[in-house]
Assembly symmetry: C2
DNA sequence: AATGAAACTGATAAGGA
DNA sequence: TCCTTATCAGTTTCATT
Protein backbone atom coordinates (compact mmCIF):
# COMPACT_ATOMS: atom_id res chain seq x y z
CA UNK A 1 0.00 0.00 0.00
CA UNK A 2 3.08 2.19 0.00
CA UNK A 3 3.23 4.56 -2.90
CA UNK A 4 6.23 6.37 -4.21
CA UNK A 5 5.54 9.95 -5.25
CA UNK A 6 8.16 11.60 -7.39
CA UNK A 7 8.66 15.08 -8.68
CA UNK A 8 6.60 14.53 -11.80
CA UNK A 9 3.69 13.28 -9.71
CA UNK A 10 3.90 16.43 -7.64
CA UNK A 11 3.96 18.60 -10.75
CA UNK A 12 0.89 16.84 -12.08
CA UNK A 13 -0.99 17.33 -8.83
CA UNK A 14 0.03 20.97 -8.69
CA UNK A 15 -1.28 21.41 -12.22
CA UNK A 16 -4.56 19.70 -11.34
CA UNK A 17 -4.97 21.87 -8.25
CA UNK A 18 -4.50 24.95 -10.38
CA UNK A 19 -7.17 23.85 -12.83
CA UNK A 20 -8.46 20.32 -13.10
CA UNK A 21 -10.76 21.17 -15.99
CA UNK A 22 -8.18 20.77 -18.68
CA UNK A 23 -7.28 18.03 -21.10
CA UNK A 24 -4.57 15.50 -20.44
CA UNK A 25 -2.62 17.06 -23.28
CA UNK A 26 -2.56 20.43 -21.57
CA UNK A 27 -1.58 18.97 -18.21
CA UNK A 28 1.10 16.91 -19.92
CA UNK A 29 2.47 19.97 -21.67
CA UNK A 30 2.53 21.93 -18.42
CA UNK A 31 4.51 19.25 -16.60
CA UNK A 32 6.75 18.53 -19.57
CA UNK A 33 5.55 15.06 -20.35
CA UNK A 34 2.98 13.44 -22.59
CA UNK A 35 -0.51 12.02 -22.39
CA UNK A 36 -0.03 8.38 -21.54
CA UNK A 37 2.46 8.63 -18.67
CA UNK A 38 0.45 11.47 -17.16
CA UNK A 39 -2.70 9.42 -17.40
CA UNK A 40 -1.00 6.42 -15.81
CA UNK A 41 0.33 8.51 -12.96
CA UNK A 42 -3.03 10.14 -12.33
CA UNK A 43 -4.65 6.72 -12.23
CA UNK A 44 -1.98 5.43 -9.85
CA UNK A 45 -2.46 8.41 -7.52
CA UNK A 46 -6.22 8.13 -7.68
CA UNK A 47 -6.14 4.43 -6.88
CA UNK A 48 -3.86 5.16 -3.94
CA UNK A 49 -6.32 7.81 -2.73
CA UNK A 50 -3.77 10.60 -2.92
CA UNK A 51 -5.86 12.30 -5.58
CA UNK A 52 -9.43 12.44 -4.34
CA UNK A 53 -12.67 13.61 -5.88
CA UNK A 54 -12.90 16.38 -8.42
CA UNK A 55 -15.04 19.37 -7.51
CA UNK A 56 -15.93 22.87 -8.57
CA UNK A 57 -15.46 25.96 -6.47
CA UNK A 58 -18.74 27.81 -6.17
CA UNK A 59 -19.25 31.46 -5.25
CA UNK A 60 -20.85 31.15 -1.82
CA UNK A 61 -21.96 34.77 -1.66
CA UNK A 62 -23.62 34.66 -5.07
CA UNK A 63 -25.57 31.63 -3.89
CA UNK A 64 -26.82 33.38 -0.79
CA UNK A 65 -24.40 31.96 1.76
CA UNK A 66 -23.44 35.27 3.20
CA UNK A 67 -22.40 34.33 6.71
CA UNK A 68 -19.41 32.34 7.85
CA UNK A 69 -18.61 31.55 11.47
CA UNK A 70 -15.69 29.90 13.18
CA UNK A 71 -16.97 28.16 16.27
CA UNK A 72 -14.71 27.37 19.22
CA UNK A 73 -16.09 24.64 21.44
CA UNK A 74 -15.09 23.55 24.93
CA UNK A 75 -16.70 20.54 26.49
CA UNK A 76 -16.48 18.82 29.81
CA UNK A 77 -17.59 15.50 28.40
CA UNK A 78 -14.99 13.21 27.00
CA UNK A 79 -16.58 9.78 27.06
CA UNK A 80 -16.63 7.92 23.80
CA UNK A 81 -20.40 7.80 23.73
CA UNK A 82 -20.70 11.57 23.86
CA UNK A 83 -17.94 11.98 21.29
CA UNK A 84 -19.57 9.57 18.88
CA UNK A 85 -22.82 11.50 19.05
CA UNK A 86 -21.03 14.81 18.62
CA UNK A 87 -19.01 13.64 15.62
CA UNK A 88 -22.12 12.24 14.03
CA UNK A 89 -23.89 15.56 14.45
CA UNK A 90 -21.01 17.38 12.76
CA UNK A 91 -20.80 14.92 9.90
CA UNK A 92 -24.51 15.11 9.30
CA UNK A 93 -25.03 18.87 9.33
CA UNK A 94 -24.23 20.27 5.88
CA UNK A 95 -23.54 23.79 7.19
CA UNK A 96 -20.43 22.44 8.92
CA UNK A 97 -17.71 22.77 6.30
CA UNK A 98 -14.82 21.96 8.60
CA UNK A 99 -14.43 20.33 11.97
CA UNK A 100 -11.20 19.71 13.82
CA UNK A 101 -10.42 18.21 17.20
CA UNK A 102 -7.82 20.38 18.85
CA UNK A 103 -4.99 20.05 21.30
CA UNK A 104 -5.22 22.18 24.42
CA UNK A 105 -7.72 24.46 26.03
CA UNK A 106 -10.29 24.53 23.25
CA UNK A 107 -11.56 21.11 22.21
CA UNK A 108 -13.05 21.66 18.76
CA UNK A 109 -13.16 24.25 16.03
CA UNK A 110 -15.81 24.34 13.34
CA UNK A 111 -16.22 26.37 10.21
CA UNK A 112 -19.88 26.93 9.60
CA UNK A 113 -21.26 28.45 6.40
CA UNK A 114 -24.85 29.66 6.49
CA UNK A 115 -27.16 32.05 4.67
CA UNK A 116 -27.41 34.53 7.53
CA UNK A 117 -27.10 35.05 11.26
CA UNK A 118 -30.53 33.59 11.91
CA UNK A 119 -29.53 30.40 10.15
CA UNK A 120 -26.46 30.24 12.36
CA UNK A 121 -28.60 30.58 15.45
CA UNK A 122 -30.83 27.76 14.25
CA UNK A 123 -27.77 25.61 13.74
CA UNK A 124 -26.40 26.52 17.16
CA UNK A 125 -29.66 25.78 18.97
CA UNK A 126 -29.99 22.46 17.19
CA UNK A 127 -26.43 21.49 18.05
CA UNK A 128 -26.58 22.31 21.76
CA UNK A 129 -29.91 20.56 22.09
CA UNK A 130 -28.34 17.46 20.55
CA UNK A 131 -25.12 17.35 22.57
CA UNK A 132 -23.95 18.96 25.79
CA UNK A 133 -21.13 21.45 25.39
CA UNK A 134 -19.54 23.49 28.13
CA UNK A 135 -18.65 26.66 26.28
CA UNK A 136 -19.12 27.97 22.74
CA UNK A 137 -17.55 31.03 21.15
CA UNK A 138 -18.59 32.09 17.67
CA UNK A 139 -16.28 34.23 15.56
CA UNK A 140 -18.06 35.98 12.72
CA UNK A 141 -16.17 36.44 9.48
CA UNK A 142 -16.48 39.92 8.04
CA UNK A 143 -14.35 39.24 5.02
CA UNK A 144 -12.90 36.16 3.38
CA UNK A 145 -9.38 37.32 2.62
CA UNK A 146 -8.16 34.04 1.24
CA UNK A 147 -9.62 30.64 0.60
CA UNK A 148 -7.86 27.77 -1.10
CA UNK A 149 -7.44 24.05 -0.68
CA UNK A 150 -4.22 24.01 -2.68
CA UNK A 151 -1.19 22.47 -1.04
CA UNK A 152 2.19 24.04 -1.78
CA UNK A 153 3.71 21.02 -3.51
CA UNK B 1 -24.54 41.49 -13.80
CA UNK B 2 -27.49 40.00 -11.96
CA UNK B 3 -28.12 36.38 -12.71
CA UNK B 4 -31.19 34.38 -11.94
CA UNK B 5 -30.49 30.95 -10.52
CA UNK B 6 -33.30 28.45 -10.53
CA UNK B 7 -33.78 25.04 -9.06
CA UNK B 8 -32.27 23.20 -12.01
CA UNK B 9 -29.15 25.35 -11.80
CA UNK B 10 -28.83 24.46 -8.16
CA UNK B 11 -29.24 20.76 -8.91
CA UNK B 12 -26.53 20.99 -11.54
CA UNK B 13 -24.14 22.71 -9.16
CA UNK B 14 -24.88 20.20 -6.44
CA UNK B 15 -24.09 17.41 -8.88
CA UNK B 16 -20.84 19.08 -9.90
CA UNK B 17 -19.82 19.56 -6.28
CA UNK B 18 -20.41 15.88 -5.64
CA UNK B 19 -18.21 14.87 -8.56
CA UNK B 20 -17.17 17.21 -11.31
CA UNK B 21 -15.30 14.53 -13.21
CA UNK B 22 -18.26 13.13 -15.06
CA UNK B 23 -19.68 13.54 -18.52
CA UNK B 24 -22.45 15.97 -19.31
CA UNK B 25 -24.71 13.01 -19.99
CA UNK B 26 -24.31 11.70 -16.49
CA UNK B 27 -24.84 15.11 -14.91
CA UNK B 28 -27.89 15.62 -17.09
CA UNK B 29 -29.31 12.26 -16.06
CA UNK B 30 -28.74 13.03 -12.40
CA UNK B 31 -30.61 16.34 -12.58
CA UNK B 32 -33.33 14.96 -14.82
CA UNK B 33 -32.55 16.94 -17.92
CA UNK B 34 -30.52 16.45 -21.04
CA UNK B 35 -27.18 17.41 -22.46
CA UNK B 36 -27.80 20.68 -24.27
CA UNK B 37 -29.74 22.58 -21.61
CA UNK B 38 -27.34 21.45 -18.92
CA UNK B 39 -24.40 22.55 -21.01
CA UNK B 40 -25.98 25.95 -21.63
CA UNK B 41 -26.67 26.43 -17.94
CA UNK B 42 -23.17 25.46 -16.89
CA UNK B 43 -21.74 27.89 -19.41
CA UNK B 44 -24.04 30.66 -18.16
CA UNK B 45 -23.05 30.00 -14.53
CA UNK B 46 -19.38 29.84 -15.39
CA UNK B 47 -19.53 33.10 -17.33
CA UNK B 48 -21.28 34.73 -14.39
CA UNK B 49 -18.54 33.47 -12.08
CA UNK B 50 -20.92 31.47 -9.90
CA UNK B 51 -19.17 28.29 -10.96
CA UNK B 52 -15.47 28.88 -10.48
CA UNK B 53 -12.41 26.79 -11.19
CA UNK B 54 -12.35 23.02 -11.10
CA UNK B 55 -9.96 21.39 -8.68
CA UNK B 56 -9.01 18.07 -7.15
CA UNK B 57 -8.97 17.26 -3.46
CA UNK B 58 -5.59 15.94 -2.43
CA UNK B 59 -4.75 13.87 0.63
CA UNK B 60 -2.69 16.33 2.65
CA UNK B 61 -1.36 13.71 5.07
CA UNK B 62 -0.22 11.40 2.31
CA UNK B 63 1.71 14.30 0.82
CA UNK B 64 3.48 15.06 4.06
CA UNK B 65 1.38 17.96 5.27
CA UNK B 66 0.80 16.56 8.70
CA UNK B 67 0.19 19.69 10.73
CA UNK B 68 -2.73 22.07 10.61
CA UNK B 69 -3.07 25.16 12.79
CA UNK B 70 -5.82 27.67 13.29
CA UNK B 71 -4.23 30.97 14.18
CA UNK B 72 -6.12 33.67 16.06
CA UNK B 73 -4.60 37.11 15.64
CA UNK B 74 -5.17 40.31 17.54
CA UNK B 75 -3.54 43.50 16.41
CA UNK B 76 -3.39 47.04 17.70
CA UNK B 77 -2.65 48.44 14.28
CA UNK B 78 -5.56 49.31 12.06
CA UNK B 79 -4.14 51.76 9.56
CA UNK B 80 -4.61 50.92 5.93
CA UNK B 81 -0.88 50.80 5.30
CA UNK B 82 -0.41 48.07 7.91
CA UNK B 83 -3.44 46.18 6.69
CA UNK B 84 -2.27 46.22 3.12
CA UNK B 85 1.07 44.75 4.12
CA UNK B 86 -0.61 42.13 6.28
CA UNK B 87 -3.06 41.05 3.60
CA UNK B 88 -0.26 40.84 1.08
CA UNK B 89 1.72 38.60 3.42
CA UNK B 90 -1.27 36.27 3.80
CA UNK B 91 -1.99 36.14 0.07
CA UNK B 92 1.62 35.40 -0.72
CA UNK B 93 2.32 32.63 1.79
CA UNK B 94 1.13 29.31 0.36
CA UNK B 95 0.83 27.66 3.78
CA UNK B 96 -2.11 29.98 4.53
CA UNK B 97 -5.13 28.13 3.22
CA UNK B 98 -7.73 30.43 4.72
CA UNK B 99 -7.75 33.92 6.10
CA UNK B 100 -10.73 35.80 7.44
CA UNK B 101 -11.12 39.24 8.96
CA UNK B 102 -13.37 38.91 11.97
CA UNK B 103 -15.85 40.97 13.90
CA UNK B 104 -15.10 41.51 17.58
CA UNK B 105 -12.27 40.80 19.93
CA UNK B 106 -10.10 38.71 17.64
CA UNK B 107 -9.16 40.45 14.42
CA UNK B 108 -8.13 37.64 12.09
CA UNK B 109 -8.24 33.89 11.86
CA UNK B 110 -5.97 31.85 9.61
CA UNK B 111 -5.90 28.21 8.69
CA UNK B 112 -2.30 27.20 8.14
CA UNK B 113 -1.29 23.85 6.68
CA UNK B 114 2.33 22.82 7.07
CA UNK B 115 4.51 19.72 7.06
CA UNK B 116 5.27 19.83 10.77
CA UNK B 117 5.49 21.99 13.86
CA UNK B 118 8.89 23.31 12.89
CA UNK B 119 7.51 24.52 9.59
CA UNK B 120 4.75 26.30 11.49
CA UNK B 121 7.29 28.03 13.66
CA UNK B 122 9.19 29.17 10.59
CA UNK B 123 5.97 30.56 9.17
CA UNK B 124 5.13 32.28 12.46
CA UNK B 125 8.55 33.87 12.84
CA UNK B 126 8.47 35.09 9.25
CA UNK B 127 5.01 36.56 9.70
CA UNK B 128 5.69 38.48 12.89
CA UNK B 129 8.95 39.80 11.51
CA UNK B 130 7.03 41.12 8.51
CA UNK B 131 4.11 42.74 10.29
CA UNK B 132 3.46 43.80 13.87
CA UNK B 133 0.75 41.86 15.66
CA UNK B 134 -0.36 42.31 19.22
CA UNK B 135 -1.32 38.76 20.17
CA UNK B 136 -1.24 35.39 18.44
CA UNK B 137 -2.85 32.15 19.56
CA UNK B 138 -2.23 28.96 17.64
CA UNK B 139 -4.70 26.09 17.87
CA UNK B 140 -3.21 22.78 16.76
CA UNK B 141 -5.50 20.35 15.00
CA UNK B 142 -5.21 16.79 16.29
CA UNK B 143 -7.75 15.36 13.90
CA UNK B 144 -9.57 16.57 10.84
CA UNK B 145 -13.08 15.39 11.55
CA UNK B 146 -14.66 16.92 8.48
CA UNK B 147 -13.48 18.91 5.51
CA UNK B 148 -15.61 19.95 2.58
CA UNK B 149 -16.16 22.98 0.41
CA UNK B 150 -19.62 21.83 -0.62
CA UNK B 151 -22.48 24.23 -0.07
CA UNK B 152 -25.84 22.73 0.94
CA UNK B 153 -27.76 23.85 -2.14
C1' DA C 1 -35.11 20.96 -26.02
C1' DA C 2 -33.59 17.68 -29.43
C1' DT C 3 -30.54 16.64 -33.36
C1' DG C 4 -26.40 16.09 -35.42
C1' DA C 5 -21.73 17.09 -37.06
C1' DA C 6 -16.85 18.40 -36.27
C1' DA C 7 -13.26 18.80 -33.15
C1' DC C 8 -11.40 17.24 -29.14
C1' DT C 9 -10.36 14.00 -25.31
C1' DG C 10 -9.82 9.78 -22.52
C1' DA C 11 -8.32 5.34 -22.34
C1' DT C 12 -5.70 1.60 -23.92
C1' DA C 13 -2.60 -1.33 -26.98
C1' DA C 14 1.72 -2.04 -29.22
C1' DG C 15 6.33 -1.18 -29.51
C1' DG C 16 10.83 1.39 -28.31
C1' DA C 17 14.50 3.75 -25.27
C1' DT D 1 10.42 0.36 -16.02
C1' DC D 2 8.96 4.29 -18.14
C1' DC D 3 8.03 6.81 -22.47
C1' DT D 4 6.20 7.53 -27.37
C1' DT D 5 3.09 6.80 -30.93
C1' DA D 6 -1.21 5.19 -32.80
C1' DT D 7 -5.91 4.31 -32.40
C1' DC D 8 -10.86 4.79 -31.62
C1' DA D 9 -14.98 5.10 -28.81
C1' DG D 10 -16.78 8.60 -26.12
C1' DT D 11 -17.34 13.52 -25.15
C1' DT D 12 -17.62 18.39 -25.70
C1' DT D 13 -19.06 22.22 -28.23
C1' DC D 14 -22.01 24.58 -31.01
C1' DA D 15 -25.12 25.60 -35.19
C1' DT D 16 -29.46 24.30 -36.80
C1' DT D 17 -34.13 22.88 -36.36
Amino acid sequence: MDIRIDDTDRKIMAALQRDAGRSLDEIAREVGSSKTPVWNRIRKLRDAGVIGPQTVVLDAEALGFEACFFVLIRTSEHESKWQKKFLHALQTRPEVQEAHRLAGDIDYILKVRVKNARAYDAFYQALISEVRVYNVTALLSMEEIKSTTALPL
